[in-house]
């Protein structure tokens, strides 16, 4: 279980991105965080993974206060983070990256399994460099595979669908369903209805605050009615 208590995060210029945010992400469930652009979703993901430090408030993982732990320490506690925009490396092959993620050399079958889950053929990709030669969709799949290779108890994916073509989408959904069956804690930042559909829990984040949270069946109807109808996100319009 991940718990945030009164967490705030402020831009260097003083703009509030996350404001006094308190929420709980249930253990062993798939939670989708959605909401309008600029609502603070990516910042929330980075706060949990330790990529940014809150200006106020505390963050807990399974009851342990992790607020003061850095990225490495949180990773070693079992938090993985899939970047929205994957990082490219000159000289790293797909195999190098996956083995770094796994923390040990991987045999062919394991590599095949990992790359297969994200729709890449191992034979074609293990020796490919994780550099500008990979397309946006290819590197996104490698990024997701690097999170899967760690097999941690908490995995956070920031817009995993970005760059994945619609033909491969089912494979991505299958990956998340499998992690659900393994009772992993999943946090997925997404706008994609097909990912929202497999959620156990939905958090709607708007203007740095929780506008709604609950089981999918309760949150989804209101989300579709309110969010898609107007030009302005509901949370913002309500404040006017």
């Amino acid at each position: 279980m991940i718990r945030l208590e009164h967490v705030s995060w402020t831009l260097p210029d003083g703009g509030d991105i996350i404001k006094d945010l308190s929420l709980t992400i249930p253990k062993g469930k798939l939670t989708v965080v959605t909401g309008p652009n600029g609502g603070g979703k990516t910042t929330l993901a980075k706060l949990i993974a330790g990529l940014v430090k809150p200006s106020a408030g505390r963050i807990y993982l399974d009851g342990q206060d992790i607020t003061d732990l850095d990225v490495t320490q949180r990773a070693r506690l079992g938090i993985s983070f899939g970047f929205q925009t994957p990082v490219r490396f000159k000289g790293f092959t797909v195999q190098d990256l996956l083995e770094t993620a796994a923390g040990s050399p991987l045999d062919f079958d394991t590599l095949c399994d990992l790359t297969g889950k994200v729709g890449l053929c191992t034979m074609d990709y293990v020796d490919r460099a994780v550099d500008a030669s990979l397309s946006g969709g290819e590197i996104k799949r490698v990024e997701i595979a690097s999170v899967l290779a760690r097999g941690t108890k908490v995995s956070i994916f920031d817009e995993p669908e970005a760059g994945i073509d619609m033909w491969s989408f089912k494979g991505l959904v299958d990956v998340f369903n499998e992690l659900k069956r393994e009772k992993r804690t999943l946090v997925i930042i997404s706008h994609q209805q097909r990912l929202i559909d497999v959620a156990d829990e939905i958090i709607v984040l708007s203007s740095g605050q929780v506008r709604d949270q609950g089981p999918k069946d309760e949150v989804l109807p209101g989300l579709l009615a309110g969010e898609i109808a107007g030009y302005c996100p509901v949370g913002r319009r309500e404040r006017l």
């Binding site: 990529l51 990773a75 990082v87 000289g91 770094t100 690097s146």
Partner: protein, 312 residues
């Protein structure tokens, strides 16, 4: 009569690092140790002989049509106060396909300088293919300088292909690398250079490639890491005299107070010459370190992993 020395323990270690030596080489070889010879063997297709003009060094003749053979010609300097010069000429017969392993290690345990200047000339007959592997390393705790200055001249006839994989693994106080090449029609030159400098080391690397024949091509990629107070300079010139393709790239990672300069030059002397240069110099990108930290590595581990991958 050639005087054969024993391979001494320092040489064994250097040879292992630069040429994969495990007490023996398979195929043709010549081991140069402190300006002397510590072993030589020719094979049916590859003949190694001392230079007939009396200069230090070798002539290596590869018979036309030779396939899949390797020739090892490593050179090591195992103590200070040695300044070794070797002139090695390679004659690769038409259609031959061989790998040449030519590492160099210089070691000094005292204040004496340990130096090797290797002047290599490659004559590739038409249709021949050569993979040339060259690793350089400097070792030993001595204050004496460790210098390696390779000069490589390449002459590629029509349809010949030369792939050079060169790396400097560290510990070399000073290196001045000069590589020149002349390519006839459809010949190809591929260079993959890896350089690591640290402390007060200095590395200069210079390429001059003339694409003389129609459809000749070259691809020069130099990747380097400069740490400490080390200095590196990369100078390249590609001349396109005909319809041809030329590409050069210089990528350098800077750390500490190191300095890197890159000066590419492209001379297109024919309207159908297509020449490109790319250069990027900078610190390790912060986001790369962050990504590896999300995989559980510390900042130091992440930096080491990125450098190792970059220079691989």
């Amino acid at each position: 009569m050639m005087n054969i020395q024993e391979v001494n323990p320092v040489a064994q270690s250097l040879l292992h690092t630069v040429a994969g030596y495990e007490g023996a080489f398979e195929g043709a070889y010549n081991i140069r140790q402190d300006s002397g010879c510590a072993g030589r063997r020719s094979t049916e297709n590859i003949r190694i002989q001392s230079k007939p003009d009396g200069k230090p060094g070798l002539e290596i003749h590869v018979a036309p049509g030779t396939r899949g053979e390797k020739v090892f010609i490593p050179a090591v300097v195992t103590h200070g106060d040695v300044s070794d010069v070797a002139y090695n000429d390679f004659y690769i017969g038409a259609g031959a396909k061989v790998t040449i392993v030519a590492g160099c290690g210089v070691h000094t345990a005292d204040n004496g300088e340990s130096r090797h200047d290797g002047i290599h000339r490659f004559y590739l007959a038409s249709g021949s293919e050569v993979i040339y592997e060259e690793k350089h390393i400097g070792t030993g705790e001595g204050a004496g300088l460790r210098r390696i200055n390779p000069v490589t001249e390449c002459f590629l006839e029509e349809d010949a292909s030369l792939t050079m994989e060169t790396s400097q693994l560290g510990g070399v106080s000073y290196t001045d690398r000069k590589t020149t090449a002349n390519l006839k029609a459809r010949a190809k030159l591929i260079v993959r250079e890896r350089l690591l400098t640290q402390g007060d080391e200095e590395a200069k690397t210079y390429f001059d490639v003339v694409l003389e024949g129609e459809d000749a091509g070259c691809d020069l990629v130099s990747r380097s890491v400069a740490k400490g107070k080390s200095r590196q300079s990369f100078v390249s010139r590609i001349v396109g005299e005909a319809r041809c393709h030329g590409h050069s790239a210089c990528d350098a990672i800077l750390a500490d107070d190191a300095v890197v300069t890159a000066a590419p030059q492209l001379d297109a002397l024919n309207p159908d010459a297509a020449l490109i240069h790319e250069a990027a110099i900078g610190k390790i990108a912060g986001e790369q370190i962050l990504k590896l930290r999300t995989l559980g590595l510390t900042e130091e581990e992440a930096e080491a992993r990125i450098v190792a991958g970059f220079l691989k």
